[in-house]
Amino acid sequence: MIFGMPTISFLAFLSWPLTFTVTALIIYYFMAKQDALTDDSEFEGEVKH
């Protein structure tokens, strides 16, 4: 039992906020690495008219 609920229920429902936050941090890390190697200057800033 975790927090008074069966372990399987805890994992199925309440483990996700932590899982998704860690996943987002990992994806952020890989995206940052890719961004550092890419020149996106032509897509940056507002489009002026």
Partner: protein, 517 residues
């Protein structure tokens, strides 16, 4: 006048103020419909997520949790991960390709990517049908929520509530919609967390909540729902998780937010902000529904769990802000839908169909006109509320998601995806969802529609005109393949090469002056 009505009107005035503030900033059609592609990560994250969350989160979600216990959180799981999937998969590539193709509307984006006028016709029809159903649903929800929470008669409630949304969308365009979304997103998350913390504290903590639930009925804690009613129903669980985990990729009013980001590099920070907001917001209304089982055992209307808890935990003025948060959830979705309707009419039908020489001012005028007309017609239909109107609504999300998910995804991830595949995917994917929902298999309609849509895209793309080399080059560029090296990296490697060059020069000089070495 009751305190909650005063707070609501102050909120409405604030939203109108935001619309007026951004009125002057929206000069061109790209400003009005895409915020000049200048939206930072924080604004993009909040506008993306609040658009995706409707009033269901505050009323339908808690009511479901009140009925079935923790099982309801399967719907929250897909939702909470949906932002990651959407931004990581679509964000940077869609932002780059949409600018390379010079498009403002999602329909225009599909047409130019797949190089087919037929795509434009079919995508426009599905978008208009889907948006009409969605808008009507949200109008009805706005009117009913105002009537329920603030005791307004339905017709004036609809006119006032929808009138405010129409006003700020009409005058301020994307800037106003995005900034009101930010304010609404902050109100939503603060309100729901405040009520959650006090409610769980009142019960005695999370463990006490579960112990008390188990004392009433232990199956409230089960992964199969109360009375184990979903035991072995893996299809229902898969659909509950998948519909929101991947469904947003197919919603035009959601994916347009990628096109408005200030740069592809903003995607990673957007992903982080969106994930944090999602984890703070999405689970809370469902857990509040579960708290309602303990704190409000005799509630007459399960959809009123959050408002009732708010009045139980907070003094009047704070509880009134919580009610405003419910309106915020509805308003953020309606505004995005209205703006996209204006974009599809003014860009896809007017400028690129009826009047190709239209000036920017004429396009913005047409967009505003269509927002106004759709708003007035929508309010009228919602007030008349003809029988069967909700049937239309049930189809809207599923049909749009199943029609567009594969074409939007494959546009940037599969070079071979062509117009034949995209057309087959839109018609068969959306059609499967439509037919299955109509036949009463709504629970698995999304899953089936998504599978058919993917298969149709793969099979269809084996036939018809192949993707042109020019388009393949653009898709590669959108994927940052063969991209230019970042200036920082160039400088770093130049410095490195410079020192190596210096060493080589020194070596040669030494040899010239001292041949023996």
């Amino acid at each position: 006048m009751r305190i909650e009505i005063i707070v609501l009107f102050v909120y409405f005035i604030g939203m109108i103020g935001v619309g007026l503030y951004w009125n002057k900033r929206a000069k061109s059609s790209e400003d009005y419909m895409l915020g000049g592609r200048g939206m930072g990560p924080f604004i993009t994250a909040l506008t993306l997520q609040t658009t995706a969350m409707s009033g269901y989160m505050f009323m339908g979600g808690p009511a479901l949790a009140y009925s079935v216990g923790w099982f309801a959180l399967f719907y929250a799981v897909g939702d909470a991960g949906g932002g990651i999937v959407n931004i990581a998969v679509m964000g940077r590539r869609m932002r780059r390709l949409s600018q390379m193709l010079d498009c403002i509307s999602p329909v225009e984006y599909l047409e130019k990517r797949y190089e087919s006028k037929n795509i434009k016709i079919v995508a426009s029809v599905i978008t208009i049908f889907g948006l009409a159903g969605y808008i009507l649903a949200q109008f009805l929800a706005a009117g009913k929520t105002l009537a329920k929470l603030f005791d307004f008669p339905l017709a004036p409630a609809l006119i006032i509530g929808v009138g405010v949304i129409l006003f700020y969308t009409f005058v301020g365009g994307y800037f106003a919609v995005a900034w009101t979304d930010v304010i609404q997103g902050i109100i939503m998350v603060s309100a729901v967390i405040g009520v959650l913390v006090l409610s769980v504290n009142e019960i005695g903590g999370l463990t006490a909540l579960n112990t008390k639930l188990a004392a009433i009925d232990p199956t409230y804690l089960s992964v199969w729902g109360k009375d184990l009613q979903y035991q072995g129903a893996w299809g229902v669980i898969a659909s509950a998780v998948l519909i929101y985990l991947i469904g947003y990729v197919g919603l035009p009013h959601v994916v347009i937010k990628h096109m408005a980001m200030e740069s592809p590099k903003a995607a990673k920070t957007t992903l982080l902000y969106a994930t944090i907001w999602n984890q703070l917001f999405i689970f809370s209304p469902y857990i509040l529904g579960i708290c309602g089982i303990i704190l409000l055992p005799n509630i007459a209307d399960k959809e009123m769990v959050i408002p009732e808890l708010a009045f139980m935990m907070f003094p009047g003025i704070v509880a009134a802000i919580v009610l405003t948060a419910i309106m915020s959830a509805i308003m953020s979705t309606v505004a995005a839908l209205l703006l996209l309707t204006g974009t599809v009419w003014s860009i896809d039908l007017y400028k690129r169909g009826i009047n190709p020489n239209a000036s920017d001012k004429q396009v913005v005028f047409m967009s505003r006109l269509s927002i106004f007309v759709v708003g007035v017609v929508g309010i009228t239909i919602a007030i008349l509320n003809p029988p069967g109107i909700f049937m239309l609504v049930i189809f809207a999300f599923g049909v749009m998601a199943c029609s567009f998910m594969a074409p939007f995804f494959c546009a940037i991830w599969w070079r071979k995806a062509n117009a034949t595949g995209a057309l087959a995917s839109m018609v068969l994917g959306g059609g499967t969802n439509l037919v299955m929902t109509a036949m009463g298999y709504g629970d698995s309609a999304f899953f089936a529609g998504a599978i058919v849509s993917i298969i149709a895209m793969i099979v269809g793309s084996q036939f018809g005109k192949k993707t042109t080399p020019e388009m393949i080059a653009m898709i590669d560029k959108a994927a940052a393949k063969n991209a230019k090296i970042a200036p920082k990296l160039q400088t770093a490697s130049s410095k490195h090469l410079a020192s190596e060059g210096k060493a080589v020069a020194q070596f040669i000089r030494n040899r010239e002056f001292n041949p023996s070495c």
